[in-house]
């Protein structure tokens, strides 16, 4: 025999799954939301999203090449996701230079300072968003009215959540779910985000545990308050349909690297994200609390992983 046979331990076949497959799967799931943001916010949405992707990829490339001196991994799609999610978390009129700073914080501090994909503790896009929110509070909380709105509308319009907190009049529920409301790029349409969720569940990119536990916790927590005091501030339907809750629950909290490994852990993580989100929304200084809640629980993820185990075979005695 001319050729030497290869000898290696089993298994000898692979599923064909890969990191890029999962990352691009998430990007496909983000398409409905992206299309809707184009429809609602127009050209600005396109420019911001593309710029954000570009910044994230460039920063990752330069940091890996010249600072860490490792092979850049920008082709795996994870930097693109960070870019898209960062853009989806900012108002559509955010100046590009501020966005660039956000991308640097996301990729530089959030991801590469820990060693790159797989090693970061906090969701990079959220690190970027929170960095911007604290550094540029005015720009980050001034939302332009959707381009769809009639010209007589005010130039800047408040989001549903800030109106809730200040007791102003609320938009209709249907416009909140469809997403023709004011807000950050990717958080206005709950329906588009849910389509993304269904796609990711179908493709087995994520499991239901994190998003559903967050949404149910928020719904139940606010529903209890609503029963005692039925005012819009506590209305669970409004809470589910507003702000970054869906975007956070579906696309940010489910980030592989920064979320727990076991099903039990995912449920604990989702539960606390839900609780913290509602607490910040109702009683905190900010009208919106999803990003803080997720980043807080990102920090608890190693601890949750330490204390939870998968459901073992043969653990429970049989009936």
């Amino acid at each position: 025999m001319e050729n030497k046979l290869i000898v290696s331990p089993s298994p000898h076949i692979h599923s064909g799954d890969s990191i890029p497959k999962n990352m691009y799967g998430v990007l496909i799931a983000l398409i409905p939301t992206f299309l809707l943001s184009l429809y609602v916010f127009g050209l600005n949405a396109l420019i911001l999203t593309l710029a954000s992707i570009l910044f994230c990829m460039l920063f990752e490339y330069f940091i890996s090449r010249f600072l860490l001196k490792i092979e850049p991994t920008i082709s795996d799609g994870s930097a693109i996701i960070t870019g898209v999610l960062l853009a989806f978390n900012v108002p559509s009129n955010l100046p590009i230079w501020i966005l660039a700073i956000g991308a640097l914080a996301a990729i530089g501090i959030g991801k590469m300072s820990f060693g790159g994909l797989g090693k970061n503790i906090f969701n990079p896009a959220l690190v970027g968003r929170i960095f911007l929110l604290i550094s540029f509070p005015a720009q980050m909380t001034t939302w332009p009215a959707p381009v769809l709105a009639s010209a007589t509308d005010a130039i800047s319009s408040a989001t549903v959540l800030s109106r809730l907190n200040f007791g102003s009049a609320l938009p209709t529920l249907s416009s909140m779910w469809v997403g023709t409301e004011s807000g950050s790029l990717g958080e206005t349409s709950e329906i588009a985000l849910l389509i993304g969720l269904i796609y990711m569940l179908w493709k087995k990119i994520i499991t239901w545990h994190i998003p559903i536990s967050i949404l149910i916790t928020v719904a139940i927590f606010t529903a209890i308050l609503y029963i005692f005091d039925p005012q819009p501030l506590y209305n669970p339907i409004i809470h589910l349909a507003s702000g970054g809750l869906m975007l956070g629950a579906i696309f940010m909290a489910t980030d592989y690297v920064t979320s727990p490994l076991t099903k039990k852990g995912m449920l604990i993580y989702g539960f606390f994200i839900g609780i913290i989100t509602v607490c910040i929304r109702l009683w905190g200084a900010y009208p919106e609390g999803v990003s803080f809640a997720i980043v807080l629980m990102n920090g608890f993820t190693p601890l949750i992983n330490y204390y939870t185990t998968p459901k073992r075979f043969g653990e429970k005695q049989n009936g």
Binding site: V7, S8, P9, G118
Partner: protein
């Protein structure tokens, strides 16, 4: 809803290329090399020497120790020598090398093909016959069958499970055997039921073998106590613990034997061998081997004598393709890659799988992205990525607490990992280490 096991599992491409191919007999080789260690446990003591004449079915290796199984000659001829020969494990171990001359069988063996249904032997006599015939688990585990049929005192089975799952991709030897020797397998099942004194037997068959399910369901009508259970196609359903759960709903506790939940599992190949041993006095000296692979010209199911070099079988399938990267003994998930094709067929050789070069090499490993897919597919409910880390950093006490010794080495984790991490390689290493530590502590 078809029955299956609850935790984890995967569904790799089935690639049953040799399905429906009738079993062909391999020509007798000029020489056989019969390894003296073809089972889990102590190797046999050779009882022949150079120059001895043997017939087909002559005892040539006697089992020593409790967990061991006799070895018989698979050919007639003259013992050439007893020498070290490389087997599927990759190690060189003692084997009896016999020059073949004719095909003369021991006169006690009934060579006829007629079905013999009646069996009036007692449980003890059946188990003795099985031990004498050197039968081992033919699904690949090669655990001596008579030992499995002799449960520890105080434990009794209520269900016999016959494993016709064949969940490994590519392999079809059990499938074809079920189609061609269906009645014999039922008689074998009845004999095993008698041996372990149970009233109920269930034959589990995955739903990708609908012809076998139909045929078995039909036959089962005339065999009271034997049920056929179609199962959802999911790997590793042929794993003993997974199959017991799929069929009875009971989970064997960590570290315990199947008998602790009242089940005994036997493979269909083993069951057929039991039939032949008990009813036809035929020791285990041949088996069905699937020879297959994407580039293989004629994927087939071959009946081969133990000790036949696998290259002879590959010839039957059309020869070794030019593009061969890997030759595997067994299936793609749990089989062993062979260093050469001179290695002889053994009792546990369920298949020979030839993998083209393009699919034979692993991809470079990436950092873990903590997607938890390995955890989701692990049929034992383990955390493979954690176990890999614990092994890498040699944290054995935590590895033990994380049940590393429960791993059944099915390979679902490595198969699934999108970062191509060699999870099972590490876990195997850690499992061996922890098993050693636990054993040392007991002594």
């Amino acid at each position: 809803m078809l029955k299956t096991f609850r935790i984890g599992g995967i569904h790799p491409a089935e690639n049953k290329l040799s399905a429906g191919k009738k079993i062909v007999n391999a020509a007798l080789p000029a020489q056989v090399m019969i390894p003296l260690a073809q089972h889990i446990g102590a190797p046999c003591q050779p009882i022949v020497k150079k120059g001895d004449k043997v017939k087909v079915g002559t005892l040539i290796g006697k089992s020593v120790g409790f967990v061991s199984a006799n070895i018989h000659s698979s050919v007639s001829g003259t013992v050439n020598k007893i020498d070290k020969v490389m087997d599927a494990s990759g190690y060189k171990r003692d084997a009896v090398i016999i020059d073949v001359d004719g095909d003369e069988w021991e006169p006690t063996i009934d060579k006829s093909d007629t079905l013999k249904r009646e069996c009036n032997l007692s449980s003890k006599e059946i188990i003795e016959k099985i031990a004498g015939a050197g039968i081992v688990g033919m699904g690949g585990a090669t655990f001596p069958t008579h030992v499995k049929l002799t449960p520890p005192p105080g434990l009794k089975a209520d269900t016999l499970i016959i494993n016709g799952v064949e969940c490994e991709p590519y392999l079809t030897s059990d499938h074809e055997l079920m189609l061609e020797k269906a009645e014999e397998i039922f008689v074998g099942t009845e004999i095993l039921m008698k041996a372990v004194d149970v009233k109920k037997a269930v034959i589990g068959i995955e739903n990708n073998k609908k012809d076998a399910i139909a045929r078995f369901t039909e036959i089962s009508k005339s065999y009271p106590g034997i049920e056929v259970q179609p199962l959802k196609v999911k790997y590793p359903q042929g794993g003993e613990k997974q199959l017991i759960e799929a069929i009875t709903g009971r989970q064997v506790p960590s570290g315990a034997l199947p008998i602790s939940v009242g089940a005994i599992v036997q493979n269909v190949g083993t069951t057929f061998a039991v039939y032949e041993a008990v009813q036809k006095n035929k020791p285990l000296f041949e088996r069905i081997v699937t020879v297959t692979g994407k580039e293989v010209k004629n994927p087939c199911n071959v009946r081969a004598r133990i000790g036949t070099p696998i290259k002879n079988l590959i010839e039957i399938a059309g020869g070794l393709p030019d593009d061969t990267g890997k030759v595997i003994s067994g299936g793609p998930m749990m089989g062993k890659a062979l260093p050469n094709i001179e290695i002889p067929v053994a009792k546990g050789s369920s298949g020979i799988l030839i993998i083209p070069y393009s699919e034979a090499k692993r991809k470079a490993m990436k950092d873990c992205i903590r997607c938890a897919k390995c955890i989701n597919v692990c049929p034992m409910g383990l955390n493979p990525t954690l176990l890999m880390d614990l092994t890498e950093f040699q944290i054995w006490d935590r590895a033990e607490k994380q049940k590393i010794t429960d791993c059944i080495e099915c390979g679902s984790c490595s198969y699934t990992c999108p970062a191509y991490r060699p999870l099972l390689d590490y876990i195997r290493l850690g499992k061996g280490k922890v098993t050693g530590i636990v054993r040392a502590r007991k002594n």
